[in-house]
Each structure stands twice: as C-alpha cells, then as structure tokens.
C-alpha cells in the first residue's frame, strides 16, 4: 500500500470539492449552525421569563450531552461527500480509467476514504471548537470557570467523532455499490445517523448516561467493532472486478 497514491487521489477530490458549492455548504454551514444555534437556544431558554440563565448543576449535564450532537454530525456530514466521491465517479464513469492506472484497489479505496473523511472531520471538530468557545463565553458567569476544554468532554469528541465519520464513509462505500445516483446514495447513507440519534434520545430519557465513562467505553468499543467489520465488507465491495461488472 503506497500512501502517496492514495494522497494523489484524495488531493484530486479536494480540488473538485472546491468547485462544488453544495459540498462546501454541507461542510461549513451545518457544523456552524449546530455550533451557534445550540448555545443561542440554551441562552435564550435560560433567560426566558426573566430567569438568570440555566443553573450550574443543569449546565454540567447539558454541556457534555450537547457535545454529543457533534458525534451525530460526524455520522451525517460525510454522507454527501462520500456519495459524491464514489457514486460521483460511478456516474461520471471515471472509475474505469482510474482502475486502469497502476494503483491497487486498497490505494484507491483509501484515497477515496481520506477524501470523504478528512474534510468532514475538520469541519466537525471546527464546529465543536466554535461551540465550546461560545459556551465558555456564555456560561463563565454562571460556572465561574471555563467548562471547555476538559478531558472528560474532549476525549469522547476526539475519539467518537473520527469513528462515527469513518463508519459513515464505509457505509457509503457499501451503499455506492448498489445505487446509481448521488441523491439516492445520500438518502440511504444519511440513515447512519439513526443509531447515534437513538443514543442521544436514550441519554435524554435517562436510559443511559452519555457523560459516564462506562457509556463512553461501550460506545467506543461498539464503534470500533462495527468500523472494523465494515472495513472488511467495504474492501470486498470495492474491488475492480465488482465495480466493473456488478456496479450499475
């Protein structure tokens, strides 16, 4: 496996993203909306009817829970990009000449993976940084200290976000082999957020405590296992013979 080949493929995709307005929007706008909208709503709710903001005890529960939105976002944002990088090549029929170059299936898959994984990861972590900064500014007066960054919040962010994004990319690779247009790919791929949304709802219903170490470790372990399994499935799906003879 030559990383240089994968990077050439990823760089080409980065270049094409810059010319696709919808991809730039999905990368920049969505994380920013989540990063700004949630703190604004929290502030608004806390000051409703002349209240003095959300009490410190509730903020300690809300802040890590809201940070989980960025894990959900990490599962969602790669979908339009992964759909474009793989189904887009399929639609433009550019996979055959690419497969005819002296690159291995693994190098192409890795290149496509990097192209679909890195920009959303940077966008989500960037959005999370905006969120944390904004929350720090607005909650400092209540808490008396800056809540973010702290290891309890940042560790899940730095581990679960990449794993959720990876899962989304791999699901999209698999979905790409069965569908023929970018929009269908996005519609099916977006279902990746369901388990994460389910976890968030379970947290809100006190079925699980998303802020606890045990919940974090279980989610981390489950994601690792699913990512490894999906890696093997996507490797099997992304073989030049499969692509040229079975992808329609």
């Amino acid at each position: 496996m030559r990383l240089s080949k994968s990077w050439i493929i990823a760089s080409k995709d980065f270049k094409t993203y810059r010319k696709k307005r919808n991809i730039i929007y999905s990368l920049v706008v969505t994380p920013l909306i989540v990063a700004i909208l949630i703190p604004t709503v929290i502030n608004f709710a806390g000051h409703k009817n002349g209240a003095n903001g959300i009490p410190a005890s509730e903020l300690m529960v809300l802040l890590p829970a809201f940070l989980f939105f960025f894990v959900i976002l990490a599962a969602y944002i790669p979908t339009p990009i992964a759909s474009y990088t793989i189904v887009g090549e399929k639609v433009e029929k550019s996979l055959e000449p690419l497969l005819a170059t002296p690159t291995t299936d693994g190098e192409i898959l890795l290149g496509k993976g990097i192209a679909a994984f890195l920009p959303p990861l940077i966008a989500v972590l960037g959005g999370a940084t905006v969120f944390m900064t904004y929350m720090d500014v607005t909650t400092h007066s209540t808490l008396g200290y800056y809540y973010f960054p702290n290891w309890d919040a940042v560790t899940p962010l730095l581990t679960l976000v990449p794993l959720a994004a990876l899962l989304s990319v791999q699901v999209n690779v698999i979905v790409s082999s069965r569908i023929s247009d970018v929009r269908s790919g996005q519609q099916i791929g977006v279902l990746t957020i369901l388990p994460f949304a389910g976890l968030y709802v379970a947290g809100e219903l006190d079925i699980i405590d998303l802020g606890s170490t045990s919940a974090y470790l279980i989610i981390l372990g489950a994601l690792l296992v699913v990512d490894v399994l999906l890696f093997f499935v996507s490797r099997t799906t992304f073989r030049r013979e499969e692509i040229l003879t079975k992808w329609r």
């Binding site: 080409k12 094409t16 000449p97 497969l99 002296p102 040229l244």
Partner: protein, 306 residues
C-alpha cells in the same frame, strides 16, 4: 507484445469470451471487430488486468495476465481509452491529465512536457484551462486519448474511440492513431466501424464471443467467395461471349455491353478474361472488381457464428 491462448471469460452461465487465441506484434495496429456483446470490451478489460479471466492464458508486454504481481506492471505499460471517456468534468483539461500523470509516477517535468505535447497534437492546448465538462463529445474523446498517453505507454488499448463522433472528429482521431503508429506504438483497437478498421489496422480479428478469423484486411476479404468482375465493352457479340464462356469462370450475366462475371480470385482470373476478350476482337472500356469487401467477410463470419 500481446498474446492470448484459449482466453475465456464467463459471467455465471454466460460465456462472454470463448477460447480466444491471437497474437499482436510490436508496433502493430490490431483491430478487434465484432458486433455489440461480442466480448470486445471484456477482452480489453482482461488484458488491462481490470477483470480476471476464467481460463486460458494471456501475456501483455512479457507479463502474465492473471498474476497478481504482474498486474501493476501491465497497467503501467499500457494506456487505456475506455468506451466511456470518464473525465473529471469539473477539472480542467490540464488538471485531468496532471492527475493521471501523477498516478503513473511521471515526474513534474515529464507531465508538463507530455501534457503540452499531446494537447497540442490533438488541438486542445488552447483549452487546457477549461473545465472538461464544457467540452464537446469530440474534444472529450481527444482528451481521453491524451490521458491514456500521458505516461508514454508502449501499448494502447482503445475501445471504440470514434463511436458517436462526427466525421471530422473521427478523422482527427484516426489520423492521430496513424501518427502513433509511426511512433511504433502497439495499438489494440476495438471497433465495429469496418471502414475505420480497414483504413488503419495492419491486421484485424473478427470476434463474436469466439474468434472467427484473424488476418490483414485483404486476407479477410478473400475469405469470402463471390466477388464479381464487371467489364464494360464498346460492343458485345457472340464471338466475345463464346470466348469468355470457354474460361473456367462462374456465372456470366450480360446486360447490354456490360458483362458481370462471378470470380473467385479476380487478381488471377481477370487477366485471362481480358486476354480472351481482346483476342476475340473486343474493345474494353473499363474493368471493375465489385463485391466481397471486408464488410462481406465480416457479415458472413458473424452470421455463421449465430
């Protein structure tokens, strides 16, 4: 340069390529003729190491098709113009070629030189910074050809490079192939354009799942009997007709002063016919050979296979 022996590819119960054996020499333009679904694209894909063979042997540039270790070497040695151009439409012509140049490990200097050379040769240099998606069909096809040559391959596989092109663009592509031939590139040309095959190929193989025939265009034409010689005389008379009928020829049809004679080998038989007519006192206005073209040979072989 390219050699196959009993090459076969099956998709489930369907045999796409059946027991195909041929050899392509270095510097040769080898035409692969056949109807849709004959297995031409499947053969090219097997030889390009894009899909595996079911059985048989194939060798490209000294490397074995089917050997995992040789696949990358073969792909480095060849250029492929697939039936769909498959360009990156939002990228410029230059960026499309530069990307492929990098994948083929060309240095920055080689890429720059080859991009300029091939875009200039194909009349696209002025459009180098324009997005490929805005190009006409002919321009896209030319760009796809330039892409296949970016690493200066020894062998070029072209899958119907002039399909759906207007006559002018087709001619440019054909002329370009002839230029490449001068550079001693080995060209494997998939086509169902008989005229094109006849004009540019040194040898032609006719495929209809099985290999029906291989030979030069002239050799293939000779596979079909039933060629005709049409002789226009100043005046026909019984003496001339009797002299012609004495010869070991096929059917003779006389319409006015025109004789139409079925011949097997016009190059040999026409001399005797002309000689007999002249000896009988006839005056010839013209002698024309008609029928039994490459098209006749192709249709006969393809129909036989069905």
């Amino acid at each position: 340069m390219i050699e196959t022996k009993n090459l076969t590819r099956k998709f489930g119960d369907v045999t796409a390529v059946d027991d195909v054996t041929f050899r392509v020499e270095e510097g040769e333009v080898f035409g692969f003729l056949g109807p849709n679904g004959a297995g031409k694209t499947t053969t090219v894909r097997m030889l390009s190491c894009l899909i595996s063979k079911t059985s048989g042997e194939a060798n490209v540039g000294g490397y074995d098709v089917g050997k995992e270790a040789d696949a990358l070497k073969i792909r480095k040695l060849i250029g492929l113009v697939p039936d769909n151009v498959g360009l990156y439409e939002s990228l410029s012509a230059y960026d499309n070629l530069d990307f492929y140049g990098k994948l083929y490990d060309c240095t920055a200097t080689q890429r720059k030189k080859n991009i300029q050379r091939f875009l200039t040769m194909l009349g696209l240099w002025e459009k180098k910074d324009v997005a490929a998606g805005t190009f006409s069909k002919g321009m896209k096809q030319k760009l796809a050809i330039a892409r296949s040559l970016i690493h200066d391959p020894e062998i070029l596989f072209m899958d119907e490079p002039t399909a759906n092109l207007d006559p002018e663009s087709s001619k440019t592509v054909r002329d370009f192939i002839l230029e490449l031939k001068k550079e001693k590139k080995t060209i494997f040309l998939n086509t169902h354009n008989l005229d094109e095959a006849q004009r540019i190929c040194d040898r032609i193989a006719i495929l209809n799942t099985k290999l029906m025939a291989v030979g030069t265009p002239t050799e293939l034409e000779r596979l079909v009997s039933g060629r005709k010689t049409v002789i226009q005389l100043e005046q026909t008379n019984d003496v001339i007709l009797a002299a012609v009928r004495k010869l070991p020829i096929g059917n003779l049809v006389v319409v006015g002063n025109r004789l139409t004679i079925d011949v097997k080998d016009p190059e040999k038989e026409n001399a005797a016919i002309v000689d007999a007519i002249v000896r009988a006192g006839g005056h010839l206005q013209s002698v024309t050979i008609v029928g039994s073209t490459l098209e006749d040979a192709y249709l006969k072989l393809v129909r036989e296979a069905q």
